[in-house]
């Protein structure tokens, strides 16, 4: 049996025209190129891009990066915006780095003196106490239905804050303001039910929350 299958294999390779190796190579490269071309849009898409409608699905968080013309010392530093960029993303997952860098996508080209506003809609499936864990460098302000749920407006190294809230079944507008002054930056947000141990990245659907785009 083994010899027979070996012979079939040998026969296949002997008969396999070498032109097809090259053809397969270029087809594979073409697919790789296509993957690289559209791959990033599965993680992030700019709101004003012509491709946005195609790749907007499953990206429930709208993120607006506001580049400050000057220094940002606290979250309440008066805004003097040079320009702003809007993106749709899946989760708030920017690990600590010298440049703002999404875990799945990579660098976004911002390193210092900027604000970010994250906006999403949460549908709470189950009443109860929930914990939002915000790990950030620098500060943040969490708002639910336009009411402040928790904040830390000064700068700080990459560290965690927990915000406890009681939520009833229903839809909430969630807004997270974040700022970066100088040095390393990063912001990662999780949520969990106070009874459960498992935590989820904000933006990821679970048996507790489902997320909807705010547009």
């Amino acid at each position: 049996m083994g010899t027979r299958s070996n012979n079939i294999l040998k026969d296949f390779f002997m008969k396999f025209d070498k032109r097809y190796w090259f053809l397969v190579f270029f087809i594979l490269f073409g697919l790789y190129f296509l993957f690289k071309l559209i791959g990033p849009y599965f993680y992030i898409v700019q709101t004003n891009h012509f491709i946005t409608p195609i790749f907007r699905f499953k990206k429930p968080i709208k993120m607006t990066i506001l580049k400050q013309n000057g220094i940002v010392e606290t979250l309440d530093t008066p805004k003097n915006i040079d320009f702003e960029n809007d993106f749709y993303i899946k989760t708030i997952n920017f690990p600590q780095s010298m440049e703002l860098s999404h875990k799945n996508f990579g660098k976004l080209g911002f390193s210092g003196n900027f604000f970010i506003n994250f906006k999403t809609k949460i549908y709470v499936k189950k009443d109860g106490y929930y914990v939002f864990e915000i790990i950030s460098d620098d500060g943040f302000r969490l708002k639910l239905n336009n009411e402040i749920a928790g904040e830390l407006t000064s700068n700080r190294p990459f560290s965690s804050s927990e915000v406890f809230v009681h939520l009833k079944k229903g839809t909430y507008n969630l807004e997270l303001e974040y700022f970066q002054g100088y040095g390393p930056c990063g912001v990662v947000v999780y949520y969990r039910h106070s009874d459960g141990k498992k935590k989820y990245l904000l933006g990821k659907n679970s048996k507790y929350f489902s997320f909807k785009n705010p547009y």
């Binding site: 087809i27 891009h49 320009f83 660098k107 390193s111």
Partner: protein, 487 residues
């Protein structure tokens, strides 16, 4: 007629690729700061010395001079260029069209030369056209050639030498005249940049072709020795001639010492300058000796590659085939988008070049150790020659202690393209001769993908602004070291 049309088509496309907005960006980048300063000194006859031989900068100066005649940069005071070896700015309304012209033109001619090389190898216009896309649509070579730098000019002369070598190697025996002409072509390349000296190996291959049987039999008659000696001397003469002529013009033109800047010239050279005797051929070797000493001193002063240094742009030669390290020559921010001049190759052609090198190595070792059958002895020899050229060049680069940059790989990269073409021929020559449609489809698909990838990376070549997502789309490998500019 079809052959002519293909050539004209290639000519037009090369013209578009190389000359589109070649004066843009209107700011200096990388070594333009040095070469424009040097070229202006030729225009104004100012004394200077530099670490490269003079021909490349003389041609850059010639380009500017021609454009000056037609009114470009007229009335603009460029005297500042003469007071320093490294300019940091250009006057208002200054145009780069003149200074960048020579390199851009020679870059385009180099692409045409590569087409002619492909035609010599394939003996088929369509396949030559498809394979010429390797050179024409490499982003790094195109971008670098469209600047007031030396590599575009150098690559033309390198490819000219290779083209001529491929032409004469087809014959049974080569004449003294052919050795001399190859010497001149190689000498022209060396007169632009010294690392073109790898071309000297072409003469070794020619000698092997001419005397293979005699060498193998170890039978050297007086006639053979005489013939060999004559060819050696005539080759040396051919190589030296363009070098000496360009140096002679350098010494004769650059005679006005500004602000006492004598570049550590010897007392003898200073005396020659004082007596305005620089054009006197009897003083040539004194001045040449000083120039060579200057190059030596300069090279010793260049730092070594230091990967721990923040912003180190240099890279070790063994990483070049993998595209390390891309260099951000210049950038401009515009409210959320950034335009880059990035030394970034076309990943597909670099990959195919690397595959060409690897398969050639496998092919050669297969022949040496396992005596595999070869389809054509002549092609086998070509693969051997170009493999030797590639590995010798890379070995030489690895031996250099000073910091080197990715564009120093361009010469080896062109060898790798030729190796890929040879390997392709080894596999598919019979199909090409039979006008096989599948083989043509494969080659066409390859060329289409090369053009598509070139266009995709063209913002780095033509200074077209990108936002952060567009930039990250182009980071296919972390190895390259492509880093976006941050806000």
């Amino acid at each position: 007629m079809q052959k002519k049309l293909i050539f004209i088509f290639f000519l037009i496309i090369s013209g578009i690729v190389y000359f589109t907005n070649y004066w843009y960006p209107d700011g200096l980048f990388w070594d333009e700061n040095y070469h424009i300063a040097s070229a202006q000194k030729y225009i104004d006859g100012v004394f200077f010395m530099e670490p490269h031989p003079p021909l490349g900068k003389q041609l850059i100066a010639l380009g500017e001079k021609i454009f000056n005649i037609f009114g470009l940069n007229k009335g603009i005071d460029k005297s500042y260029f003469n007071n320093t070896d490294y300019i940091t700015s250009v006057p208002q309304n200054f145009s780069f069209a003149g200074f960048r012209f020579a390199s851009t033109l020679f870059g385009m001619l180099a692409a045409i030369m590569f087409f002619l090389i492909a035609k010599t190898l394939f003996k088929n216009e369509i396949f030559a056209l498809l394979f010429a896309s390797f050179y024409l649509f490499d982003n790094a070579i195109t971008m670098h050639s469209r600047s007031a730098m030396l590599e575009g000019i150098q690559l033309f002369f390198v490819l000219l030498s290779i083209f001529y070598f491929l032409k004469i190697i087809e014959k049974d025996k080569r004449s003294i005249k052919e050795y001399f002409i190859l010497g001149i072509f190689s000498g022209l390349a060396i007169a632009v940049k010294l690392n073109s000296a790898i071309l000297l190996l072409l003469f070794v291959f020619l000698v092997w072709e001419d005397y293979e049987n005699d060498i193998l039999k170890l039978s050297f008659s007086l006639n053979i020795l005489k013939d060999f000696l004559l060819k050696t001397l005539i080759s040396i003469a051919g190589i030296i001639l363009p070098l000496f002529i360009s140096f002679y013009f350098h010494f004769a033109i650059c005679k006005n010492v500004l602000d006492g800047r004598t570049y550590n010239a010897s007392n003898k050279y200073r005396e020659i300058l004082l007596q305005e005797e620089t054009a006197n051929p009897f003083n040539f070797f004194t001045m040449l000796s000083d120039y060579i000493k200057y190059i030596d001193r300069y090279e010793k002063g260049v730092p070594k590659w230091d990967p721990t240094k923040v912003g180190e742009n240099g890279s070790p030669a063994f990483m070049w085939p993998f595209g390390y390290k891309s260099i951000n020559y210049r950038w401009t921010k515009w409210r959320g988008v950034v335009a880059y001049m990035y030394l970034q190759g076309n990943p597909l052609v670099w990959l195919l070049g690397l595959i060409g090198v690897i398969l050639s190595f496998v092919f050669l070792t297969g022949k040496v150790f396992f005596n595999i059958t070869i389809n054509e002895k002549k092609r086998f020899k070509m693969i051997t020659y170009f493999s030797i050229l590639y590995f010798s060049y890379m070995f030489a680069m690895l031996r250099i202690e000073r910091v080197m940059y990715l564009y120093h790989y361009f010469i080896a990269l062109t060898f790798s393209f030729i190796l890929f073409a040879l390997i392709f021929l080894e596999f598919f020559k019979t199909y090409i001769d039979k006008n096989d449609k599948l083989t043509l489809t494969i080659a066409s698909l390859m060329a289409i993908e090369i053009v598509a990838v070139f266009l995709f990376y063209s913002p780095f070549t033509y200074y077209i602004p990108l936002d952060s997502i567009q930039f990250m789309q182009r980071v296919w490998s972390k190895v390259w070291g492509l880093v976006p500019i941050t806000y």
